[in-house]
Each structure stands twice: as C-alpha cells, then as structure tokens.
C-alpha cells in the first residue's frame, strides 16, 4: 500500500515537471546574456532592463491586460444575464439558444476571427482598440455562460420565489439571494474569460489595427526574425505574478474555509439583509 502511495507521489512530481520544465527553462534563460538558447553567456539583468525601456512591448502588455480585464467584465455581465435568461426558457428555445451561444467556442478561432473582420468592415468600423474589445467580448461570453449555467442548475428552484415571498422586490431578490449563490460560477467565468483573452492570438490578429497590438500578436510577429530575449523576461515576470496571486487567493480561501461554518441556513435572514 505504501509503495503505491510513493509511486503516485512520484508520478505527480513527474507530471508537474513535465508541465513546468519549459517555463523553468524560460525563466532561467531570461537571465542569459547570450541571445540564443544554445549558448550560456552568464547571468545578467540586461533583458529585464531592456524590457522596461521597450515601449512597444510595454504598450502591448498594457493593451493585453486592459482588453482582458474589460472584455471579461463586460462578458461576465452579458453572460450572466444570458445564462439566467436561458435558464428560465422553455426546453426547445433553451436548446436553440444554447447551441447559438456556444458557437464562438466551438468554431475554429480563424473562422471567428475572419468573420468578425468581415462584419467590422461591412459596418465601416476602423480596426483598432474598439473592434478588438468587441471581438474579445464575443468569444468570452460562451465561457461565462458555460461557467454560470451549472451553478444555476444547482440552485434551489424555489429560492428566488421564496425571497420574494419574504418581501424582497425582484431586483433585491436577484442580487441579494440568487447572485451570491451563483457567484462561484461568475468568478470562474471571469477567470476563464480573462485567461482566454490573454491567450488569444488568431482572433485578436484579425480584428485589431491602428497600431493596437497584444502581446501574443507581437510575439508571433517576431517568429520570423527570432523572439527577443525581453520576451523571456516578460514571461518570467508574468508567471511569477500569476503564481503569487494564485497562492494568495488559495491561502486566503483555505483560511476562510476554516473560519466560516457551512452556508447560511435561513433564506429569510439573507433576504432581510443580515
């Protein structure tokens, strides 16, 4: 028995190694004074310095982050409203709308990207930040719907009505009773949308213009001539930031779970605002 425990432990370590080895190599080479991966030229912080003085990369970084944040927030708002609406639909219309809603997710990125480009040019919109934002919102919404729907299904179907019975107006009933219950789904949807947004290349490439570039577009454009080492430095920083955020969040929620008891029992107490 102990042997199998050891074995499964070793197995998990190997999996983690497989997942993170490339990132570790990337971080190590961000300190390499030689441009090529093949040679080791000694430790240096040059690339980090060059990174912060490279306005093109910094601009792309800020565009990437702001687009990710904005599009996720907007997608969460629209997606949650959509999910609630779909949840309350009759069977047939529900199925029809669901399939439509999942279309951007199922389509190959290039199909979504080029079709969005066609629509934007048909509407006479100049490609730029706004079109990029619209595109990101479009492909993020299905992910939000996908995350919120299960939480809605888990909801006690009478919760909303019960809150209204106890005197809450519809808006309060929704925001104070239903939303907290589905909030894990909303948060997951937000995080998923954020990740998909940062990661996206194809759709962003075809829907942006006017000098607005995201990190992924900039990095791909470097492929022909060689990826600059500043990108290694940037990736290292991004990885550390995300890792720390995750650790902080998980530690906090672990502490919270220890402190709070099980969820509130009385619907009445919630609805009356305590």
């Amino acid at each position: 028995m102990k042997f199998f425990k050891r074995l499964s432990y070793v197995y998990s370590v190997l999996i983690f190694l497989f997942l993170y080895a490339p990132i570790v190599v990337l971080i190590v080479y961000s300190f390499n004074s030689e441009k090529s991966r093949a040679k080791w030229g000694g430790l240096t912080l040059d690339w980090y310095r060059a990174l912060f003085s490279n306005s093109e990369i910094m601009r792309a970084l800020s565009t990437t982050v702001t687009i990710a944040l904005l599009s996720s927030v907007i997608a969460v708002v629209i997606g949650t409203m959509a999910a609630v609406g779909i949840y309350n639909m009759r069977r047939r219309s529900k199925m029809a709308v669901m399939s439509l809603a999942y279309l951007p997710m199922l389509n190959a990125d290039i199909v979504t990207g080029v079709s969005l480009l066609l629509i934007f040019s048909a509407l006479g919109l100049r490609l730029g930040y706004f079109t990029l934002l619209l595109a990101h919102v479009t492909f993020n919404i299905p992910y939000v719907i996908l995350s919120v729907m299960p939480k809605l299904k888990q909801l006690d179907p009478n919760l909303y009505e019960a809150a209204q019975d106890l005197g809450a107006p519809p808006a309060t009933a929704f925001f104070r009773v239903v939303m907290p219950e589905i909030s894990p789904g909303i948060v997951t949807g937000f995080l998923l949308a954020f990740t998909m947004s940062i990661d996206d290349f194809v759709i962003s490439f075809f829907t942006t213009g006017s000098g607005v570039s995201t990190l992924s577009i900039m990095i791909y454009s470097m492929a022909r001539r060689g990826i600059k080492p500043e990108i290694n430095a940037l990736s290292a920083i991004m990885f550390i930031v995300v890792l720390s955020l995750l650790l902080i969040i998980n530690l906090r929620s672990a502490n919270d779970a220890k402190r709070t008891d099980s969820r509130p029992v009385s619907v009445g107490a919630r609805a009356s605002g305590r």
Partner: protein, 349 residues
C-alpha cells in the same frame, strides 16, 4: 446593490478611458498606416519620419505573408496604406487588383535601387512595388562534421547525415528545393513534377531530424544538427554565433526572395505612402535598416558603403553566377492548394 453599482462605475470609467484611447488613433490629420513583418525595421526610423515630415506613423506587424493577405482581403484593406509583401504575394495582389501604381515622381530615391533587383517577373517595371530587402535560401552546414562543401541539394538526402538534417516547415521552400534538385523549376506545378517531388521528400523523411521553423537557428548554433536549409539572413545570424557553420547555395540553384514595399489601392493616403517609401530608400535610412535587420540590401549606396568582408560574403551577396541560377517564386494560383495538400501528406506520413 452598492457593490454592484461600484463595480459598474469602475467598468464604465475603464470603458470611457479605453474608448478615448481609440479616438486618438483615428485622428485623421496626416496619419500613415504601415503593415510590416515583425522586427523588420530599425528602431527610431518611424519616429524620424514623423520628425521630418509631421506624418504620424501607425505601425502594425504580422508574422507571415498569408496572414497579411487574409486580413487585407477579408476587409482589413481599409486599415492599411503601406504593406511589405514577398514576391509571390505581390504577384497575387497585382492580379487581384489590390495594389496602387506608384507615382515615381514622388519616389525619386528609386534610382538608388540597383537595377539588378528591378523589373522581375512578379512585378515587371516595378509598377507596384519598391524593393526593400532580399535574400536567398541555401544550406547551412557544420564544417567540422561535413567533409567537403556540399555542391548539391542532394546532401540533404545523404544517408550519412541521418537524423542530423533540418528541413524548413515551409511548403514553398521544401517542395521548391526538391523540384530544383530533380531538375524542375521551383514554380513547376505539373503532376509529374509534384509526384516526383513527393516521392523524393518521402524518401528523405527518415533522415530528417525535424521540420523546423525558427528553432532551427538555436539548434544549429548549439550543434544539435549538422545540415539545415535556411534563409540567408538567418544563416548570417547563426554563423556569427557558431564559427563552425558555413552557408552555401547548391549548384542546381535556389530561391531568391524579395520583400518589397507596396501601396494598397484602397489607401486614402497615397501621397503620404509614397513619401514614406521614398524615405525608406534614402541612403541613411536604408543603411540603418540594413544594420539592424542584417538581410541583404538592394540599395546601391548602402551596398557600396559596406565593408569588404560583408560585400564578399556570399551568404549575403552571392556573385552573379550564383544569382543567375536562382529563381523567384511565382504565385501558384489554384495550385497553392495542391502544394499545401502535398506538404500536409508528407508531414503526416
């Protein structure tokens, strides 16, 4: 309720900020939209242009011709004025009537471009394009592990280098060199030629270490492979970092490629675009670009100003006998699909 309101407020502010950002870019007075390869212009050049002419340059980048072509034809053409396509794409764009004829009265610096690089098959009389950078495709090999200088593409099929050969993951380049090796033209799309090329490439597959892209450079510098097919610009890069490497263009001939500057027909800033192209051909600017990019320049004065070592380097400036054996890619038209399918089959087998 308060929480929701505050979140909505935050996002409304962000939205306003973001949208205000995009009105800046649509500032109509004297802005030029340039679409170029990534990392294909020296730093500060566009700023210098703005300084001298007052024209703002909005600069976007792409990674390959096909991406740029798709974007332009799917509706993105209204977003760009100047583009930098490669030879065969120029041919396609001309045929599809997407390029504007250049008024050379506004581009007097065209006279500084060597006549050798003008009037080529893809754009006779250079009505639509001005040369920017050029290069060749050849073989980079490790002189310490290859007994004598390869003279033929056949070295890529040599059994003794099994597992140490790198081929480009590129449809045109890999099929093209095979066709050249077999004695056909690089633009041949007849069934016989393609069948022969396919057979040859399948024959080669067990000897190939990898069908690589950009990683090839690192691999050759590290000595992880002995022979690789490379662009001349990349060859110069790796040879600088590994003294054992050398570049050669096989006797059968090879591909010579051009990246030229073109103006889109839909451009509303044709005069600004011509000013930009003229600026790029100016000797000091062309020299700055050449020094940064390190590919071969078509500009006469820049070439003459190079040191003897660079000028005589056949990697960057092959002599005329080699030049004569090289072909420019022509657009395959409907046969592009045939080539693509063939390549997919080879990679998948």
């Amino acid at each position: 309720m308060k929480k929701v309101l505050s979140i909505l407020l935050v996002f409304a502010t962000l939205l306003t900020l973001a949208l205000s950002g995009c009105t800046d870019a649509s500032n109509k007075d004297k802005t030029l939209y340039v679409y170029n390869w990534g990392d294909y212009i020296a730093e500060g050049v566009t700023d210098k242009f703005t300084e001298e002419t007052g024209i703002k340059v909005v600069y976007d980048t792409y990674e390959q011709n096909e991406d740029m072509y798709t974007k332009i034809t799917a509706g993105g053409s209204s977003s760009y004025d100047v583009i930098f396509p490669s030879d065969y794409v120029i041919e396609k764009l001309i045929r599809e009537n997407l390029l504007a004829e250049i008024d050379y009265k506004n581009v007097p610096n065209m006279s500084l471009i060597d006549a050798k690089y003008k009037n080529l098959a893809f754009d006779p009389d250079n009505k639509y394009s001005v040369p920017y950078m050029w290069g060749t495709v050849g073989i980079v090999y490790d002189t310490t592990r290859v007994s004598e200088e390869p003279t033929s593409w056949g070295v890529l099929w040599d059994e003794q280098y099994k597992g140490e050969i790198l081929m480009w993951d590129s449809v045109r380049d890999s099929i093209g060199l095979t066709l050249k090796y077999l004695g056909y033209s690089m633009n041949d799309h007849s069934d016989a030629a393609l069948a022969a090329a396919k057979a040859k490439l399948l024959e080669q597959k067990p000897l190939v270490l990898s069908y690589a892209g950009d990683q090839m450079k690192d691999m050759m510098i590290a000595g992880e492979a002995i022979i690789a097919v490379m662009y001349s610009g990349d060859a110069a890069f790796v040879m600088e970092r590994n003294e054992n490497l050398s570049y050669v263009i096989p006797d059968e001939g090879s591909n010579i490629w051009f990246d030229n500057m073109c103006i889109l027909k839909s451009s509303k800033n044709k005069d600004l675009a011509e000013q930009f192209i003229n600026f790029m051909c100016r000797t000091d600017i062309a020299a700055t670009n050449r020094d940064y990019i390190c590919y071969s320049t078509p500009q006469i004065e820049v070439y003459n100003a190079l040191d003897e070592e660079t000028k005589s380097d056949i990697t960057q400036y092959p002599d005329d006998s080699i030049y004569a054996r090289c072909e420019v890619y022509e657009d395959l038209g409907e046969y592009t699909q045939v080539y693509d399918d063939l390549w997919t089959q080879i990679l998948a087998s």
